[in-house]
């Protein structure tokens, strides 16, 4: 770990001021950032602790939610409104990490957590364009069973590891930001970037910009939603593939649908193509299959992860099948 200074912010403006110009990082639960600092992958000159900022979970009149960025993952997952109106979000959070980590981790920090690509983590021994732009990528021809099949680039094949973000993307969540130039709001689907030739730039955040809250718009049919995480052991493992879906039926047809994938790309992957393909279609396995195939048409396998394409397809179909049969 490289020496750093620490300051605790009392509000967003204070945090932004304390962060100053360069070299500072905001500290939430520290479950990822502190690990990366120990590995000297992250070397902030200053940590600005933002866990004292809003952690409120507000239920709006229309049924939507506004969640303070400092809310702990566990608090969100166990909140009554989340569990009843957005079961997909509650399940996604509980599917992630361990109880101890969920107790510490914040919503803002979860969104900004970094990839678990082994070559990114091996500061001493591996090349990584995300860590050192232009250095090269040792994952492309190395161990890449857990890596991206969608939206990757020759510079980077890493995945975003969050479960929570997959559900939030499916739910059209908005991210409230505050920075030196004021406040703004961005759809979560537009916050994370694909790697392109700058995998070190992972989000659209401007320097010093802070996530203050997450807004989850009302979506009545989100009560009919599922998060399914496929993983290598029963708990405490990152998703090989995950699927977040909400389905609205009209008779035996798909009236509306939300679908997002995890473990497949550099960002939580909203399956826009599959959604378009599904709307108005019969809620049957062939339609689900066609939609999954439409989404995965551009998928590109690496040495070890070709199985993910079929696995994603099968899991999408199974989740939609299950939602079709669900009573809620």
């Amino acid at each position: 770990m490289t020496p750093f200074t620490y300051a605790r912010a009392t509000n967003a403006a204070d945090a932004i001021r304390l962060a100053g110009d360069t070299g500072a990082r905001y500290l939430g639960g520290g479950t990822n950032l502190v690990d990366l600092m120990r590995e000297t992958i992250e070397r902030p000159s200053r940590l600005v602790d933002v866990t004292g900022l809003s952690n409120a979970i507000e239920v709006r009149a229309d049924g939507g939610l506004v969640i303070g960025a400092a809310a702990r993952n566990k608090a969100v997952a166990t909140h009554r409104a989340v569990r009843t109106r957005y079961p997909i979000l509650s399940r996604a959070i509980v599917a992630g990490a361990s109880a101890q980590i969920r107790n510490m981790a914040t919503v803002g920090g979860n969104i900004l957590q970094r990839t678990r690509c082994a070559y990114f983590y091996d500061h001493a021994g591996a090349r990584c364009n995300k860590r050192e732009p232009g250095q090269g990528c040792d994952a492309i021809d190395g161990f890449n069973r857990m890596h991206a099949i969608l939206g990757a680039s020759p510079a980077c094949v890493a995945t975003h590891p969050s479960d929570m973000c997959v559900a939030l993307c499916a739910l059209d969540a908005l991210v409230h930001l505050e920075g030196r130039n004021g406040e703004r709001t961005l759809p979560l689907t537009e916050l994370h970037r694909l790697p392109g030739d700058r995998p070190d730039v992972e989000t659209m955040l401007e320097p010093g910009e802070l996530i203050t809250a997450i807004e989850v718009p009302a979506l009545p049919f989100a009560t009919r939603s599922r998060y399914r995480k496929v993983r290598d052991r029963a708990s405490y493992a990152f998703a090989v593939v995950s699927v977040a879906a909400a389905l609205k039926l009209e008779g035996d047809r798909v009236k509306d649908v939300r679908l997002a994938l995890g473990g497949v790309a550099h960002k939580p992957w909203r399956a826009w193509k599959a959604e378009t393909a599904l709307r108005g279609q019969p809620a049957t396995e062939p339609a689900f299959r066609a939609a999954a195939e439409a989404e995965l048409a551009d998928a590109k396998p690496l040495r070890d992860n070709g199985f993910k394409i079929g696995l994603a397809r099968r899991t999408i179909i199974a989740v939609l099948d299950e939602l079709t049969g669900a009573n809620t």
Binding site: A118, D141, V230, D232, R233, S235, F307, G310, A318
Partner: protein, 764 residues
Amino acid sequence: MSADHSAAALPLAPENWPTGSAPDPLIRRQHGLVGKQLSRVDGPLKVTGAARFAAEVKLEGMVYAALSCSTIPKGCISMLDTTAAENAPGVVLVMTYRNAPRLKPVPSFLTAEKAAGGDDLPVMQDECVHWNGQPIAVVLAETQEQADHARSLIRVGYEAAPAITGFEQAKAAGRHPASFFGEPLKNEIDDAEAALSAAPYKVDNVYRTPRHNHNAMEPHAATLAWNGDELTVHDCTQAVAHTAWSLAQAFEIEEKQVRVLSPYVGGGFGGKSLWQHQVLAAAASRLAGRPVRITLSREGVYRVVGGRTTTEQRVAISAAADGRFSALVHTGVVAMTAHNNVPEMFIFPARQVYSAGSFKLAVETVQMDMLANTFMRAPGESVGTFALECAVDELAGRLGMDPVALRIRNEPEKDPMSGRPFSSRHLVEAYRAGAERFGWSGRSATPCARRDGEWLIGMGVATATYPYFRMPGGAARITLSENGDAKVEIAAHEMGMGTATVQAQVAAERLALPIERVSIVYGDSALPGVVIAGGSQQTASIGAAIIAAQRALVAELLRLAGNASPLAGLAPDDVGARDAGLCKLDEPERYESYTSILSRAHRDDVSVEAAAPPPDELARWSMHSHGAMFCEVRVNAVTGETRVTRFLGSFDCGRILNPKTAASQFRGGIIMGLGLALMEETEFDERNGRIMNPSLSEYHIPVHLDVPEIDIIWTDIPDPHTPMGARGIGEIGITGTGAAVANAVYNATGKRIRDLPITLDKLL
């Protein structure tokens, strides 16, 4: 809890028990302390945090160490800049090959009686790099954080040399016949290949197992200090005497100038021996003139401590229509280095589990440029039973026979290799009891027959086996105090297995003392004995040492008793232990308590030391434990995820000394076996020999949710040729487990996975 006072006197074990003239009389003792379900004596210390582990010992003036490790597999350091590290806050010393004291290589395992080194490479003596992850610098600083930070400031450049980091590349470079303890790992009886080609029913396949890394809960650590030329090491080790001797060789000092203390070990499994970190910490301590604590990070354990090597095994079995094996072929290759000799002895099970008309068994090694591999829980048997027991399952399918019936059909009457009788073998009973309790008859012989929604359900079975060992060198000191307390001292180890508890039970029973009056002192190289906590042999080794020490103690007590005692004129074999004293066996009223003997002799205590007899029992009998492992899995038809839902281990391991600690040992082994079956795999990047998943988040071992309730039963039939009738139980749980899972997966899905671990992608 006290000894069974109503019991008759317990005779001493005969001196010549290893020759089989008469068994240990403790075997027949039914209602005493042995066999009682006692909680661990060290339990309260550990759950309250009072037990002080190696990384918790605080020494006056101590500094903290951090290691910098190489990032290439082979070559030379061409540039090394430690200036920034030396100038960093709190730094006391940066040691590299340039300023390290001159050291002899550490003698590697099995090259001498007390050799404990993982390899025999020079330790930071030159610019050469031999594996990716080799320590190239040690930083000492006033705090761990300062040492870690300074370590990150070291700049190093390399001149790489061509390296062999691929298994196929290594095989092409040459195979070598393997040997273990000087004995070739090769057996041939008749022409197995000819029998194979002539047989009507056969299987012939290749099985692969990956590298595994040690992940004991307690990462390796040592806190040490020099006093002149005397070195004291607070270590976590399974071999205190070996470590002390081996460190003395490296520093060219006398063995007695090194004292290794290791009262608590947070898991060993074969990995807690002498690796470079202890040597480097001692060298740096000498150079800096300060006590040193070195604590390996989890990544550090992967870089510096060897693990289980990769294997590629061919198993071919042929049979007649009645299932009798005409040939058993088990051959293959394991990766090793040029600087160690620890092959995975995967043919050990095939040497004795089955009878067959012919055998061809052989292990070959290939050499790679990597960290020396080492022992890990049931080296050989864990991965060997995976291949062998999958093959037997496959053959049962070909024959249309039940896999349990096929195994019973091929049960040998005597050791197939040596022709020696088995000391005690009740595998068939274990199979029958296990099959009944598990409900094996409910298994469908055809795969894919049971389904619950998305989940395919299957059952599998496999044989577990591990040898009985007793290594030479066991010795113990018993000190009996005038107040009736007994202290047993032996340079043995408690790594969480229950050794201290079980041996207190045994010693109390033998001495006819309440267990509260007996203490077992261990984990100190200054104590008698050269006992390794490995090979599941510590129980027998300590047991034999206590037998010998008790004989010496009784002889001394009879001498002290003198003519005024009711015991006057008696010889050790005339007496037995009863009620905290001795009595004549056939005249129990001729009794005197230990306290009375000592007080009449005006002695505060009496102390004797004795060595165990050589392990001659191993030359007379074929000595092995066995088990029948039953497993039920559910495999998700959509995602390929496998979840183990039921597991039963039915064991034949001689007499069980403490059901509570034994069941935990068996379960722990089985859980490790579930990991071997389904998830454990070291990602060794063959491009540069670097381990890419050195962390518990990426190197998967089972978490609680992966472990079902594990049912454990045992035959409890004493082995008449071992101390207490017991055979070691530390390792057998991991054996057979991998195959039981793989066979259950086949039964569930119809997919035969011969390449561990059985991850979901292999089942899609």
